[in-house]
Structures are given as structure tokens and as C-alpha cells.
């Protein structure tokens, strides 16, 4: 122990303090108090004692009897468990419908486990439009789809560029092209 227990200020890692605590004297009369506590404590152990009539004469005999009793307990427990197990019948198996496994088509996307998949490969069919008759041409397109149909034709056909007029000439008075007269 350190010769001067109070000189701990110079210690580097505080071991003097710990040594000082470790060297503290035990309180007076500790042994007596412990002895009294031991006398007051119950002497019997946790293991049950044999009745006087069956008490073993030696330690070896006692051990043998304990082992036999333990074996008997194990036998009863295992036998009981086996009896219950052998009587219990396994119940009927539950009804399980096995779904057919869908194989993914080769080279395409998988169906991701979907039961019904729409047919996407042939593609949607567009209904063919009815060709306009001569009557429709004269009266124009029907009112319902006039705009759309007109637009479509307009975008499809480019209108012919008007001829360049001379300066100061009214478009109405411009000479209409006369068909060539064959002589």
C-alpha cells in the first residue's frame, strides 16, 4: 500500500485513490454480525430431505436413491408424453387448390403473375372510315364531324398558292384564265 495515502495528488492514473479505498479497514464487529446472520439463517437446503424411515445410511446410498427417483420421474413424464402422442391422430389435410403456374412467354414480357392479361401484341384495330359519297361531296361534310374532317383534309392537302397579282389590280377584275380554244 502507498505509504502516504493522502498524497494522491501526484498520482497519474488515480490508483492511489483506489488503493486507499481497497485498504480501508473493515468495520469493527463485522465477523460477529456475519456469524449471527449465519446462525439465524435456515439450515435446511432446497433439496427435500428423505423421510426418517427411508433415510439412507450413507451418502452413496442417498445418491443412488436420488438417481433412481429421478429416473422414475423421467420415465413417467416420457411415458405420459408418448401416450398422448400415440393417441392423437393427425387431422385431415386442408383443402388446397393449387394454381397452375404460368410460364412466361419466351422473348416477351412476363405477365407478372396476372391471371388475365390484355392482348397487346396484335394491337387495337381502327375501324375503317366510310368513303364519302357524291351526295356528301355536294352538300359538304355532315355537321357532326365537319370540323374535324375538314381540318384533316386541310392539313393533308395544301391549298394552291394564289397567283401573284399585278400592282393596283383588284382580284375580282383579274382576268380569269381562259381555256385554250382549239382551232
Amino acid at each position: 500500500m502507498n505509504s502516504n495515502p493522502h498524497n494522491a495528488m501526484n498520482s497519474d492514473c488515480g490508483e492511489d485513490t483506489l488503493r486507499l479505498i481497497a485498504g480501508l479497514p473493515a468495520p469493527a464487529g463485522l465477523e460477529e454480525r456475519v456469524r449471527k446472520a449465519l446462525q439465524a439463517a435456515p439450515r435446511s437446503g432446497r433439496v427435500l430431505a428423505w423421510p426418517a424411515r427411508f433415510r439412507a445410511k450413507s451418502v452413496m446410498e442417498s445418491n443412488w436413491m436420488r438417481a433412481a427417483a429421478a429416473a422414475a420421474i423421467v420415465f413417467v413424464v416420457v411415458g405420459g408424453g408418448w401416450g398422448v402422442y400415440s393417441r392423437v391422430q393427425p387431422g385431415p389435410a386442408g383443402k388446397v387448390i393449387v394454381m397452375p403456374q404460368r410460364m412466361p412467354s419466351s422473348g416477351g414480357f412476363s405477365g407478372a403473375g396476372a391471371i388475365r392479361t390484355p392482348q397487346t401484341i396484335p394491337g387495337p384495330k381502327v375501324r375503317e372510315q366510310a368513303t364519302p359519297t357524291s351526295k356528301d361531296r355536294s352538300s359538304g361534310a355532315p355537321a357532326g364531324n365537319k370540323g374535324t374532317r375538314e381540318k384533316g383534309t386541310q392539313t393533308a392537302k395544301k391549298p394552291a398558292a394564289p397567283k401573284k397579282l399585278a400592282t393596283g389590280q383588284h382580284p375580282a377584275s383579274a382576268p380569269t384564265p381562259q381555256p385554250a380554244v382549239s382551232r
Binding site: H6, G14, E15, T17, I21, G23, L38, R46, A56
Partner: protein
Amino acid sequence: MEIPTSAVTEEARQRAEDAAISALVDQYAGALYRVAYSVLRNPSDAEDAVQEAFLRVLRHRHTLTEVRDHRVWLIRIVWNIALDRKRRVKTRPETDDGAELARVLPSKGLSAEELAAAAQHHARVLACVEQLPAKEREVLLLSAFEELTSVEIAAVLSITESSVRSRLFRARNLMAGMIDHERSLR
């Protein structure tokens, strides 16, 4: 009247066990108290731990003959009891180490001021010890008992001797760092 042999042997055995336990109490009660006190830092708790340790010995008195080193065995018992108690009483408000140390420290040749300063320093050191990791702290606490060698500390903690040495080395380094840090703050 004939006395049964089994009764005589039983009584004699019990008397021999009592004598053995009483001898253990005389020999090791003080050391066990110091071990418990170093962990618990409370005299009454340490004494309770010692009593509990001997009660455990009484319960396992039949195995006393099988124990090789009674001192290490008893220290191990009281060490585990003290750690268990400390874990349980952690919820309690901590006692003032400085005041407690000032009360228990020997005060020969010291003025009241010196005694108070020493107690404060020891309290600071103990606070640093508390901050150590558990493994290092345990080894450091047990190493303070000069009667315990590193082999015996290893037996108490159920670790190898090399582990004891490496943990002690780490604990000393950590403590030195913490105490230096404390000094620099002042």
C-alpha cells in the same frame, strides 16, 4: 441406548462445516468487505453484500471441499453480489463521495482543510473511474487489491490473464487522460 451411526456422522459433518465456515468468516470477511466497498462505496451495502456472500457459502457448504482456492472463490461471490446490488440501486440518488470519503479517511496529521482537499481529489478520481468502460473499470478496481495477482483477477472475472493485462493497460491510459483533462480545466 444405541445411537445410530448415521446420526453421528451427520452431526459431525455439520459441525465440521460450521467450523469451516466460521474460519472463512474470520479469515476473509475483512477482504470481502473491502471488495464490496470498492464497488458499492457504501458501508452498510458492503456489509450486506458480505453477509449475503456467506449465506450463499452456507447454502453450498457441501461443495466447500471441492473448492481449490477459497479466497478467489469468495471474492468472486462477493464481487458478483456487489455488481448485482449496484445495478439494482442505480436508481437511488448517488451518495456524495467527497463527504463519505472525508468521513472514512484516516485523518492523522492532517488539517481539516487538507483533509477536505484530499477527499475532493479522491472524489474526482472516483468520478473518473465511474466514467471508464465496465470491463476496464472492473480490472482497475480489482487490481487495487494488492493481495490479488493478475492470475487471481482473471479467475474472479473468468477471463484470461492477458486480457487482464491489456484491460489494465487501457484503463490506466484512460484514467491518465481523464485526470489530465480534469487538471487542465481547473
